[in-house]
């Protein structure tokens, strides 16, 4: 590899384009969804009105939207910080679940007289540690053996899912409520470890999630370690050249990513669930986090509004059944949003000569300026 090292000027996209692409993706997906709904004989205006009304139309509805958004902020941050450094951690699902297992384990084990502050902190942190541990099972082999983390994190999702189900549905482990004899369910954690609700079902977990996103943004864009991190994300070779220990960097980001996903699990445990409930933790929150991260263009601050949008969709889905429309509609919309957003990256990475009427002439006539 004696290729000369050429620094290609990555055409910096104007800020409005970076904003336009995600917004355009959402609009395009909604338009496609409307078309699809119309073709299948549904009244798309009614469907979208119902969705908006459910998600934002009342205090209670908005609280539920924020409740749905909270874990997505964290799984979104988890995906974003990893993807930015080309660590393809798609194991947010498993890390969230193992985080919940660890959190519930500590929350059950603690004496019920533990002071609330200590109990909450212990249980929440246990989730982060659990998530980081689960990520390490893929991170360590990646860094030291070069195994493909896409596959290992994917496999670990299924292992965590089965482990979680085993602990509550398949055995009489300490995680299972001994009093629930008829239908197995998780054993409640101690009351002192629960986060108080302050607005309908909304609890302080939302602010923990937002704080994590802000901290992630701050570390990445304002600190020396974040600067090194961005160098590694741009080019492993450059990073090595300036003396950054790339493997250690990759390992620490991978673990931080797992910790963020694990935190999503523990916040569900100390928040709305109060126990490790296998059914409520197997909702694809890790994968939805990847949509959130992609749509937010891996920017931790942008993740917050995007997670609220995705949370709104998740919240609105079940309500559609009352008007005879499958709740899978929101899944189609989420998938379509992601497809448009990822395709839109092309416009951001490549300079196009005629940026007006973006949506129409992307594919065929896109003229790439050869810088």
């Amino acid at each position: 590899m004696s290729r000369r090292f050429i620094v290609e000027p990555r055409g910096l996209a104007p800020w409005w384009l970076k904003l336009l692409i995600p917004i355009g993706s959402v609009i395009a997906a909604l338009a496609l969804g409307a078309l699809f709904l119309a073709i299948t004989g549904n009244d798309w205006v009614e469907v979208y009105t119902k969705m908006a009304d459910t998600a934002f139309g009342s205090g209670r509805g908005f609280a539920e939207t924020l409740v749905s958004s909270t874990p997505l902020i964290l799984t979104g941050v988890a995906a974003a910080i990893a993807f930015k450094m080309l660590v393809w951690n798609i194991g947010g699902e498993g890390q969230l679940m193992f985080g919940a297992i660890a959190a519930a384990g500590v929350g059950i084990w603690l004496s019920s007289s533990t002071p609330a502050v200590i109990a909450v902190i212990a249980v929440v942190l246990a989730g982060a540690v659990g998530g980081a541990f689960w990520a390490s099972l893929a991170a360590v082999p990646k860094v030291y053996l070069g195994t493909n983390e896409i596959i290992t994190t994917l496999m670990l999702n299924f292992i965590a899912l089965n482990l979680m189900q085993y602990l509550v549905l398949g055995s009489f482990s300490p995680w299972r409520d001994p009093e629930a004899t008829q239908f197995p369910q998780g054993r409640p954690i101690i009351d002192n470890a629960r986060l108080p609700e302050f607005f309908h079902r909304l609890d302080w977990g939302l602010f923990i999630a937002i704080a994590v996103a802000i901290v992630a943004w701050f570390v990445i864009s304002k600190t020396r370690s974040g600067f090194e991190y961005r160098i590694v994300g741009d080019s492993f070779d450059t990073a090595r050249y300036v003396g950054i220990k790339v493997p250690r960097k990759v390992l620490s980001v991978f673990l931080a990513s797992g910790a963020a996903a694990g935190l999503a699990g523990s916040i569900l445990v100390v928040g709305i669930l109060g126990k490790m409930d296998p059914r409520s933790l197997d909702l694809g929150l890790g994968f939805t986090g990847i949509i959130v991260a992609a749509l937010a263009r891996l920017n931790p601050i942008a993740i917050i509004p995007v997670a609220i949008l995705m949370g709104a969709l998740n919240n609105a889905g079940p309500a559609l059944q009352s008007i005879g429309v499958p709740s899978a509609t929101v899944k189609i919309l989420q998938g379509a949003i992601l497809i448009f957003a990822v395709a839109g990256e092309f416009l951001i990475m490549n300079r196009i000569k005629r940026p007006k009427r973006v949506a129409d002439d992307v594919p065929a006539e896109a003229e790439v300026s050869s810088a």
Partner: protein, 314 residues
């Protein structure tokens, strides 16, 4: 003899492994051309629902198969466009395909007043040989006891293997997957090769999905395929991108899907969830063992897998 636990397990493993064979061979073809498609789960589900729908409407199983393959290939075009034409992240695009396809499949199964969900199949693939042949000890169930799609899967494996390793177009595909720039300068149309093989992968994933809805599961459910699409992606690595190996690892995973039942018969009690973990643990362990050798070379991963290729940047 044919009723022994071992025989029943092997026969069940072949059945349960067959959708994985189709999907895995499809993904091998796609990845051999240098494109990673994580949308297998979505393409399989679309194939499953469209195949079921077509057979439900017409009563024709083979029409269902064809519709399923077309549906899978059609969905895969989105990924081909994103990854080959636009050259954006193949990983995110593939995930998007899975999410979109999953949503679409559930929607199609539930849309309208006469929704498919819960309805029994109008027809189902069954063994094609007479019972007298199937009753032959050992050979009978193993060779004659299958439905047409299982034999088709063997043909697909044989053809794919021959195609990749013994024909000129197959050599072309591998060249594109290893070093697209050199392939291009040798006059190969990289874009066309990649589009074709992403779509072949989509068609086979659709067929694999249809095997669930037209042979294994006799009624429509929201998700009749479980996590088969994800498993297929792992099997590609375990099969080290070789179709024949894909057949064996798919049957191994098929056996793992059945082993729970087998153990119950033998009065061995291992919790179902722990057994369900086994194949995934196995996959990770196998990857670790393979990785500690000579890295990717030993595995046979295409050199340019997942790397966008653009002519301008050569």
């Amino acid at each position: 003899m044919n009723d022994s636990v071992v025989m029943l397990t092997i026969v069940a493993a072949i059945g349960l492994g067959t959708p994985l064979v189709f999907a895995t061979v499809g993904e091998i073809l796609t990845e051999r051309s240098g494109i990673l498609n994580l949308g297998v789960q979505g393409m399989m589900l679309i194939g499953a629902v469209m195949g079921f729908w077509a057979t439900f409407q017409t009563g024709s199983l083979w029409l269902g198969v064809i519709v399923a393959m077309i549906a899978g290939a059609a969905l895969s075009v989105i990924h081909a466009f994103n990854s080959v034409t636009l050259r954006v992240s193949q990983i995110v695009s593939g995930l998007a395909l899975t999410i979109f396809g999953t949503g679409l499949a559930i929607f199609i199964g539930r849309a309208g007043s006469d929704a498919l969900v819960g309805r029994p199949s109008r027809a189902i693939f069954e063994s094609i040989f007479p019972q007298s042949l199937i009753d032959i000890p050992i050979v009978g169930p193993l060779i004659f006891g299958h439905d047409a799609l299982i034999y088709l899967s063997w043909v697909v494996v044989g053809v794919a293997s021959y195609y990749l390793f013994h024909t000129r177009p197959g050599l072309t595909v591998r060249a594109v997957g290893e070093d697209p720039a050199s392939a291009e300068s040798a006059g190969i149309n990289v874009t066309r090769v990649r589009y074709i093989h992403v779509m072949l992968g989509g068609a086979l994933a659709g067929l694999g999905g249809a095997y669930f809805s037209l042979a294994l599961v006799p009624s429509w459910q929201d998700n009749p395929i479980g996590s088969a699409g994800w498993i297929a992606i792992a099997l590609v690595i375990l099969a080290s991108w070789r179709p024949w190996r894909a057949l064996w690892v798919a049957y191994l995973f098929g056996a793992a899907g059945r082993i729970n039942f087998t153990f119950q018969t033998l009065q061995i009690n291992i919790p179902a969830n722990l057994l369900a973990m086994l194949p995934f643990i196995l996959a990770i362990v196998a990857m670790l063992i393979l990785a500690s050798g000579k890295r990717g070379r030993l595995l046979g991963a295409p050199e340019a897998l997942g790397i966008p290729y653009s002519r301008e940047e050569r």
